[in-house]
């Protein structure tokens, strides 16, 4: 009797493991279906013009998400551009210059602390420190100076991306075959030459994947951007203009959305965000997997 129970519990356990694993795997698919079904009224009402429609007027039931699309793309790419030199330098410092030892270990932990600060605290900090600086800059350039806008959001976002991209790029860089580096040194190359002509070119796909994954994170970053971007559903004139991103329009308007079409239109924005980040993450992960074996 006891034996039979043990066989049974074992069977249940093995079955449970597979069920848990497969459920986690199809979770993404379930997400997609959920979002698609609940955004269907919006998709039907808005049609394809939704993507490049320039006016967002919930009162008139007129929805075009082009301003958010532009706001999201500019903010993400700008923040990636600002953080790139810092991430590459810190990744080289920790992965190539000083891969081991106490001091680099401390440095690594300190940079990882950036990931410990919640998004909303970044936004609050940016509102108090970065926004006034940007406002001063705008005043010098004789522009309207609200302080909040694409540029402010991008600066804070770029700081948030650093720990993430540093750890990805450092991993890639430290996997460079030693023989390759030593061959270059034996030919008389300086360290700068080894890095720019051997390490970076031979890891270029891994490094790009690291930036791609950081881009995915920037696209979906919500709270800090919502606080700092100025929340204006107009097309931005320049990089200082207040704007809106896809994530922040959802964050701001979702609970206040009245009517089925409005709500499902916001879910449609979420669906788009989901599809784009899924594709970006899938490609990035596959590249990283390919280079690490």
């Amino acid at each position: 009797m006891k034996n039979r129970w043990r066989v049974l519990e074992n069977k249940i356990f093995v079955r449970w493991l597979s069920i848990a694993a497969i459920t986690t795997m199809v979770l993404l698919l379930i997400f997609f279906i959920t979002l698609l079904i609940s955004s269907w009224p919006g998709i039907k009402a808005n049609g394809f013009g939704f993507l490049w429609g320039k006016t967002w007027d919930p009162v008139a039931n007129h929805f075009g998400m082009f301003p958010f699309l532009i706001g999201t793309l500019i903010t993400s790419f700008l923040s990636l551009l600002i953080s790139a030199p810092f991430s590459i330098a810190a990744a080289l410092f920790l992965g190539e210059f000083y891969p081991k030892g106490l001091i680099p270990n401390i440095f690594r932990n300190v940079i990882e602390l950036l990931a410990a600060i919640p998004s909303v605290v970044y936004g609050f900090w940016g509102l108090y420190t970065v926004a006034p600086l940007v406002s001063k800059l705008e005043m010098k350039m004789h522009m309207p100076a609200p302080g909040v806008g694409i540029f402010t959001a991008s600066i804070v976002l770029s700081i948030m991306l650093i720990p993430y991209s540093v750890s990805l790029i450092r991993q890639v860089i430290s996997m460079t075959p030693v023989a390759l580096k030593e061959a270059a040194y034996a030919l008389g190359s300086t360290r700068a030459e080894v890095i720019t002509k051997v390490i970076i070119p031979s890891n270029i796909s891994g490094i790009s994947a690291g930036f791609l994954l950081s881009l995915g994170r920037a696209l979906g970053e919500t709270m800090a951007v919502t606080i700092l971007i100025g929340n204006s559903p107009e097309l931005p004139h320049n990089i200082f203009s207040p704007s809106y991103t896809m994530a922040s329009v959802i964050a701001n308007e979702f609970t206040e959305a009245v009517g089925d079409v409005y709500l499902s239109t916001l879910i449609e924005v979420g669906l788009l965000l989901f599809v784009v980040t899924t594709i970006i993450n899938l490609i990035g992960r596959l590249i990283i997997k390919k280079v690490s074996y």
Binding site: F13, T24, M25, L114, I117, V120, F124, A247
Partner: protein, 285 residues
């Protein structure tokens, strides 16, 4: 050697020096940013830490004082429920991945988990809204917990898997050879041997969700009243920071800074625990 070559060599050396100093400079500015941000948060927040912050609920606009007791309790409820949901599932999936390593299915599951980690948290909030909040017709703490539990899964799974594959197969085989079932072997041999790594995965998961607001906006929502019920909407510390930070009142900003210090200190403490665990309790054979 011709002078030309010497100049070339010197030029290359100078370039190398410049390159090295640029790398140093940029790395140090990253470190400086960390200290500037943390210093600012603590400078603004520490003066607003007082007993009222921990023991009182919010006061109406205009009255000074008040605290975030409701949000502290709410955060605890939401995070603890999320951990209770995520840890058993995450550890199970981790065991599955470690046991089926190299098989196609396990590879796909692992890839799906990596992608899941990159899904914006606000999208997870929408999905849970559609699943739970819309059918039940009200915001609730447990719906927020489910959203956070999904975000917690990837680190728990990764850490469990990575810890379990480090445990030598001889240990498992010895247990199986003694007649223990696979279930008993996992429970009594594998999990205890890897408990350090699994535990640190759980802490990483908690650290990841403790500061999240986006998935809670349409699930746990917010509630100025103190409540212990998981079926009611609750406030959480990060949500209060968001609400107060977007308000024009100085008093509310002060409370938001206090909340920021509590939240950041909590997450830094968790990170420190993880580091200690990783260095002391790492599986070693």
């Amino acid at each position: 050697m011709t002078p030309y070559e010497i100049r070339g060599l010197q030029g290359r050396r100078i370039k190398d020096k410049i390159f090295t100093s640029v790398v140093w400079g940029l790395t140090f500015s990253c470190l400086a940013v960390v200290f500037i941000i943390l210093f600012y948060i603590f400078k603004m927040g520490i003066p607003s830490l007082n007993w009222a912050l921990f023991s009182q609920g919010p006061k109406p606009v205009g009255e000074s004082g008040g605290g975030i007791l409701n949000a502290i309790v709410g955060s605890l409820i939401v995070v603890v429920i999320a951990a209770i949901i995520a840890i058993p599932v995450g550890v199970s999936v981790g065991i599955f991945l470690a046991e089926n390593r190299g098989r196609k299915l396990a590879d796909r599951v692992a890839l799906a988990i990596d992608v899941l980690q990159g899904i914006p948290s606000i999208v997870i909030g929408i999905v849970i809204y559609v699943w739970i909040v819309k059918p039940t017709g009200k915001f609730s703490a447990y719906s927020g917990s489910i959203a956070l539990a999904i975000m917690m899964l990837p680190p728990i799974i990764k850490n469990t898997e990575e810890t379990l594959i480090l445990i030598p197969t001889t240990l498992k085989e010895a247990s199986l050879a003694l007649g223990a079932s696979y279930f008993r072997t996992t429970m009594k041999i594998l999990l205890p041997a890897g408990i350090g790594g699994i535990f640190s995965g759980c802490i990483i998961g908690i650290a990841r969700i403790a500061g999240e607001v986006a998935p809670l906006l349409f699930t746990a929502f917010g509630n100025p009243q103190l409540t212990g019920s998981i079926f009611k909407p609750v406030d959480t510390i990060p949500k209060v920071i968001f609400t107060y930070a977007s308000s024009p009142y100085d008093d509310w900003h002060r409370i938001a800074w206090g909340g920021s210090v509590i939240l950041v200190s909590f997450i830094i403490v968790l990170n420190t625990i993880i580091k200690i665990f990783e260095s002391r309790w790492k599986v070693q054979f």
